[in-house]
């Protein structure tokens, strides 16, 4: 296969049923190292389902996943995180009443003896991870609920960066954010790009997608409808693609 080893992850022929809902009907999807892919499409197209299979939240009914050239089975979020796949979910993957530090290390707490948490390390490391993103928060002990929407996404992204993710998936990270906060989040993503992390960015806002991504995958009703490079299109072009895909008869 040409350029086989600069492909980080490849999903082949993915099918997924939810009871009688045929959510994915044989989707191929790949992401190169250091590449940012914009995953777009109408509501219910199957975008979240596709990436939740990648992040171990759902399992495909059929299809294969290759990570760094190896065939892998991702059976749980833990498997995905062990591979280096981190997800920032549409429905935020943060516990609002827990502190920033406890959120960043959720499920992977640094421990001393007997499984007791190293809280000093947690506090220091989380402040460092946030500073890496250019985010300065007052204290690692603040509950996440007291942060702004943009800062919360920052916490989730800092978590991904801290654990040396190779692929970060962002599922509508800018939904329900103010204009200023959106710009903040896009800046976080640029930081990921500078660190050569691969990114999958799902959004309904084609201008955000166009701004941040190098390649676009358009989905509709469980199928991949188009796969275009940034040079070959424009925000208007993407918008037409999404509309056309949604209305094309299958």
């Amino acid at each position: 296969m040409e350029a086989g080893n600069d492909i980080l992850v490849r999903m082949v022929g993915i099918h997924k049923w939810f009871g009688r809902v045929y959510a994915l009907r044989g989707v191929d999807f790949e992401v190169r190292r250091g590449e940012t892919v914009g995953l777009i499409g109408d509501n219910g197209a199957g975008k979240s389902t596709l990436i939740k299979i990648l992040s171990g939240y759902h399992q495909a009914d059929q299809g294969e996943i290759y990570f760094e050239g190896q065939k892998v089975k991702i059976r749980s979020p833990r498997d995905a995180r062990n591979l280096g796949i981190e997800t920032v979910y549409q429905e935020q993957a943060l516990a609002p009443n827990l502190s920033i530090a406890r959120n960043i290390f959720m499920g992977r707490e640094p421990v001393k003896k007997f499984g007791l948490m190293d809280r000093k390390a947690m506090d220091e490391e989380s402040m460092k991870a946030l500073a890496n993103l250019g985010l300065r928060l007052r204290s690692p002990e603040l509950p996440v609920v007291t942060l702004s929407g943009g800062e919360r996404q920052g916490v989730a992204i800092a978590r991904a960066l801290h654990f040396k993710a190779k692929l970060v998936i962002l599922d509508e990270p800018t939904v329900a954010l103010s204009v200023k906060e959106v710009e903040e989040v896009l800046e976080f993503v640029r930081q990921l790009q500078r660190e050569k992390v691969s990114v999958v960015f799902i959004t309904h806002n084609l201008y955000h997608a166009f701004d941040i991504a190098e390649r676009f995958v358009v989905m509709a009703r469980g199928l991949k409808m188009a796969d275009v490079k940034k040079e070959e299109t424009s925000p208007q072009g993407l918008s037409e693609l999404v509309l056309k895909s949604a209305f094309v008869a299958v």
Binding site: P96, R102, G107, G115
Partner: protein
């Protein structure tokens, strides 16, 4: 100076502080108004600390379970069933150590059963444990004929019996009932687990946002199962202590404890939605409930007033905690 002021403010606005203040006020009230100040009589304090600790030990487990977002309404029934198991094994003249271990294990198994039904079938634990509450209570009454039966460990007059009694119902020094010591020990163990151990972080995360916890690789079903089992084990432990103290089995034991335990947790600042609360608060909440119950008896107020009082304390504590949470949010901004 700024720093000191904010520490003071934080201290005053902390949930546990306000529970502690309320507890102190209630204690002073009972001390002053009980006839001949009988509330603070050493004999009464001993009764309070031993009897109250039995309920309070179970409330600790219920509180932790509530933090991970689940309820257990079956605690009183598990307690009764465990006591019944104890009685039956005792009648077989088995070794006391064996009886105690089996009783505690049975408690753990009933907790496991609650967990399996809740987690596997996806039934809200409020419903699951409502069912098992009726089931185990009914079964206990059915099998025991609903009667009180003598179960006097001290009558054995063996060294094992005296070890058993000093372990579960003895005294530390000249005054402190050992039950209260166990209550404190369990509170410390669960407190360390909840606040210092990584498992505690999983408990909070599970209760606060189960989907997030799952997405971060936490096995939330397993976390809940452990919390249910802990409650069951504590019920088994208390069954041993209670039979040791009463020297008899009654099928009505623990009646009404399920809601008292929820009340204790809520008074101690635990959220009914999960994800919020702390062990020190639950400790104080459980103590408050025990103190009220005992204090009203000492005041010779008819028992039914207890519930009127509980109701008031619960409502006041929920209102004050809402107020405190709002203030805290303002402080963070």
């Amino acid at each position: 100076m700024q720093g000191n002021a904010s520490y003071l403010k934080r201290f005053l606005l902390s949930r546990s502080t306000s529970v502690l203040l309320v507890l102190i006020l209630i204690v002073i009230f009972f001390a002053v108004f009980s006839p001949e100040h009988r509330f603070v009589d050493p004999d009464n304090l001993r009764v309070l600390l031993s009897l109250g600790a039995e309920f309070s030990i179970i409330a600790l487990g219920v509180g932790m379970l509530m933090i991970c977002g689940e309820f257990d309404l079956s605690v009183g029934s598990i307690l009764a069933f465990c006591s019944f198991i104890f009685l039956k094994l005792f009648e077989l003249h088995l070794s006391l150590l064996f009886i105690a271990v089996i009783t505690i294990v049975v408690g753990g198994l009933l907790g496991l059963l609650n967990a399996l039904i809740t987690v596997r079938a996806g039934i809200p634990s409020f419903i699951t444990t409502l069912g098992t509450m009726m089931f185990w209570r009914g079964l206990t009454i059915l099998l025991s004929g609903g009667e009180q039966t003598a179960c006097d460990v001290s009558a054995l007059n063996t060294p094992a019996a005296s070890y058993f009694l000093s372990f579960f119902t003895g005294q530390i020094g000249k005054f402190l009932p050992v039950q209260f010591f166990w209550f404190a020990i369990f509170a410390i163990i669960l407190g360390v687990l909840l606040h210092r151990h990584r498992f505690g972080n999983w408990v909070y995360a599970t209760g606060d946002n189960k989907d997030a916890a799952r997405a971060m690789g936490i096995n939330t079903d397993w976390v809940k199962t452990v919390c249910f089992i802990v409650v069951g084990l504590l019920c088994g432990f208390v069954a041993c202590a209670q039979i040791g103290r009463l020297a008899c089995f009654t099928s009505r034991t623990g009646d009404g404890w399920e809601l008292k335990a929820v009340a204790a947790s809520v008074v101690g600042g635990t959220s009914l939605r999960g994800g919020m609360g702390n062990m020190f608060g639950i400790f104080l909440g459980a103590t408050t409930i025990s103190v009220i119950e005992n204090g009203l008896v000492v005041l010779r107020i008819p028992y039914f007033w207890t519930y009127v009082f509980f109701g008031l304390v619960i409502l006041l504590s929920v209102l004050s905690s809402m107020y405190i949470e709002r203030k805290q949010m303002e402080m963070h901004r």
